[in-house]
């Protein structure tokens, strides 16, 4: 689904990503760990196509198409969606209207969708105006539900969220990744769901989100390099016990990027 080949990215004069190779398959959820400043957000922003993230080498393939230099909206239309960590306020743009725009002409019921993330009372407010951390997450999820991407980028879905909201957000993220569809009564959901499973790339610091989703694989991003591929829970355990210092050792191994934890 998403294939990253030897990707090098600079911000200004500074090289942040130094040769990233990653393959996320159809329906797979991939968790990215890493300390602050390791380049996690840069990777997400580059995948989405933000300005200011200059690809100096390598390429990004999405479902076989080279999207390395594609404008952001074309990536979105191909099926890549992103949950923003700090989205801007747009005055005069109602959440309801933005939800409709996210669906790009498909039938969408903002009220019904908002009900699912407990966000109905915000539909007639300007998007992101005075939203708290948890409200931003719910708003982002609401937009993604309308957008229905086949590949989702989440930048720290748990940051700034209290425990009560975490449960709701975790469940909705899971539903999104499971490719939730509205089925006619009596229809068999299983084969359809498997087919529609959404892929995802999730950045997490705390790992709380792992309590809610089925994450298949994980890796640590450290100083612009990917290393330590393992089961996400194992990586989390390891980081909790030893911190990211171990990653330095791991990078120094003769075969970097793969150790069994």
């Amino acid at each position: 689904m998403l294939k990253i080949e030897d990707l090098r990215v600079s911000i200004g004069d500074k090289e942040v990503l130094r040769g990233i190779n990653l393959h996320i398959r159809e329906g797979e959820t991939f968790i990215l760990f890493g300390p602050n400043g390791s380049g996690k957000t840069t990777l997400l922003m580059t995948l989405m196509g933000f300005s200011g993230y200059n690809v100096t080498g390598g390429r990004i393939l999405f479902r076989g198409t080279d999207i390395t230099h594609m404008p952001m909206y074309e990536r979105a239309r191909l099926g890549i969606g992103m949950s923003f960590q700090r989205p801007p306020t747009i005055h005069g743009l109602k959440t309801r209207d933005l939800v409709r725009m996210c669906s790009r002409g498909h039938d969408v019921d903002p009220d019904a969708l908002a009900g699912k993330v407990n966000f109905s009372e915000f539909l007639d407010r300007d998007i992101n105006a005075g939203f708290s951390g948890g409200e931003i997450k719910r708003s982002e999820l609401l937009q993604l539900m309308a957008q229905k991407p086949s590949f989702v980028l989440f930048d720290e879905p748990e940051s700034g969220v209290d425990l009560e909201n975490m449960q709701l957000i975790g469940k909705v993220v899971r539903r999104l990744l499971d490719g939730e569809v509205d089925l006619p009564p009596g229809a068999c959901a299983k084969p359809l769901k498997c087919k529609l499973r959404t892929s995802g790339l999730i950045i997490t610091h705390t790992g709380y989100i792992l309590d809610y989703i089925n994450a298949d694989r994980g890796q640590v991003l450290y100083q612009g390099h990917l290393c330590c591929e393992a089961r996400p829970r194992d990586i989390l355990e390891h980081i909790r016990s030893y911190g990211y210092q171990e990653c330095i050792r791991c990078l120094d191994e003769p075969t970097p990027g793969r150790v069994v934890l």
Partner: protein, 385 residues
């Protein structure tokens, strides 16, 4: 401000007879008027008025709660409208007021009955059809005690190319507990020079709500409508949306003078300059306590031009509460990218942000008027980008 030379225009000879049914107007004229917010084909107002060049061509009331007369008829019938005519506006203020005082071509006199709630708007249309002609208009609106009315007035030329001068005097009288909503849409053209002169008085507990929309080009426009809140608890609100393309010179502001305790006012303007000159003025004065006023002018420059915001606050008593917020900004890249990440291309994203910025929803307008404004906002985007 570029001066208007009134000698360039003829102030006689562009007279027209009565038009009993305004649906019989040319389709192109009706379309221009529709863009000024008045739908003549599906008009459902409580009253309907039309001034064409130098004549009142239509004056019709459909609601017994509201009186509508041509201004010259009203002046004759009510002995010169003492206490109303030239009471708020000084006839010697400038050459434009003097011109209208010397020769009033028309205009409307609207008066509600005390306590009457007029559900449907009074619709008025001031139209410049003949080329190089001048139009002298005098409007007087009296909202009697505890009554409510919405006046929608659309001002337009017959073509974008029509040269003309529109001099319009408007005097508002909102009595105790009355409520007046006044919505004005301008749809002139690059050849039009427009000089409205507007002053209103609001008595105790009265409310004056003004909506102004100018989305199309105009040669020069200069106005500074002023509301005096003279009674306890009076409220005035101004919302303006102004776009100045290349060739347009607009100097427009709103002024509220709070002369009584417990008065409140709010002046909000959104302007976009796409190559023209826009001067956004605002003035709030507080001369009694408690009173509260807020002034907000926000501007965007898209593709050149000049934007000059001049907010003024004037307080003469201890304890007044006045504030202002003025900003000239740009469309932020992070806002565009946020929307692009949802699948909008750059033009869609920009026009979505511009629509939000202009925020015409705040006026709470409905029906064909809201639709017309929406269409026009979409067109500005096409022109600007």
């Amino acid at each position: 401000m570029k001066e208007v030379n009134l000698k360039d225009y003829t102030f006689s000879g562009a007279e027209h007879g009565q038009i009993a049914d305004l649906r019989t107007l040319d389709n192109s004229d009706k379309d221009r008027i529709l863009h000024a917010g008045v739908d003549l084909d599906h008009g459902e107002g409580s009253a309907l008025f039309m001034q064409m060049d130098q004549s009142t061509v239509h004056c019709e009331t459909r609601d017994p709660g509201v009186e509508l007369l041509d201004i010259n008829v009203a002046m004759k019938r009510y002995d010169g409208l003492p206490g109303y005519a030239w009471n708020n506006v000084d006839r010697d203020k400038d050459e434009f007021t003097r011109a209208v005082a010397a020769k009033t071509h028309g205009g409307y006199f609207v008066r509600t009955k005390p306590g009457a709630i007029i559900k449907k708007p009074v619709q008025s249309c001031l139209f410049l059809k003949a080329d190089r002609s001048g139009q002298n208009v005098h409007n007087i609106v009296v909202v009697e005690e505890n009554s409510e009315v919405h006046i929608m007035t659309g001002c337009s030329t017959a073509h974008g190319e029509t040269h003309g001068a529109h001099l319009g005097i408007t005097e508002f009288y909102v009595k105790k507990g009355g409520k007046l909503t006044f919505t004005m849409i301008h749809n002139w053209g690059e050849g039009a020079n427009v000089r409205p002169r507007t002053v209103g008085v609001v008595e105790e507990g009265g409310v004056f709500q003004n909506n102004y929309v100018l989305l199309s080009p105009v040669g020069t426009l200069q106005m500074y409508p002023t509301i005096n809140l003279n009674g306890r608890g009076g409220i005035a609100r101004f919302n303006s949306v102004i776009v100045t393309p290349k060739g347009s010179h607009v100097d427009a502001g709103n002024r509220v003078i709070m002369n009584a305790p417990e008065t409140r006012c709010e002046i909000i303007s959104r302007t976009i300059t796409t190559g023209g000159v826009n001067i956004a003025r605002g003035h709030i004065a507080g001369h009694a306590v408690p009173c509260k006023g807020h002034l907000e002018c926000k501007s965007l420059i898209l593709g050149g031009g000049q934007s000059l915001a001049i907010p003024e606050l004037d307080a003469t008593v201890e304890g007044v509460d006045l504030s202002h917020e003025a900003a000239v900004g740009k469309i932020a890249q992070d806002e565009i990218e946020y929307l692009m990440a949802r699948g909008m291309d750059e033009a869609e994203a920009t026009s979505t942000i511009v629509r939000g910025f202009l925020n015409v929803d705040i006026m709470g307008l409905e029906g064909p008027l809201a639709k017309s404004i929406k269409n026009q906002v979409a067109q500005i985007d096409a022109r600007a980008f």
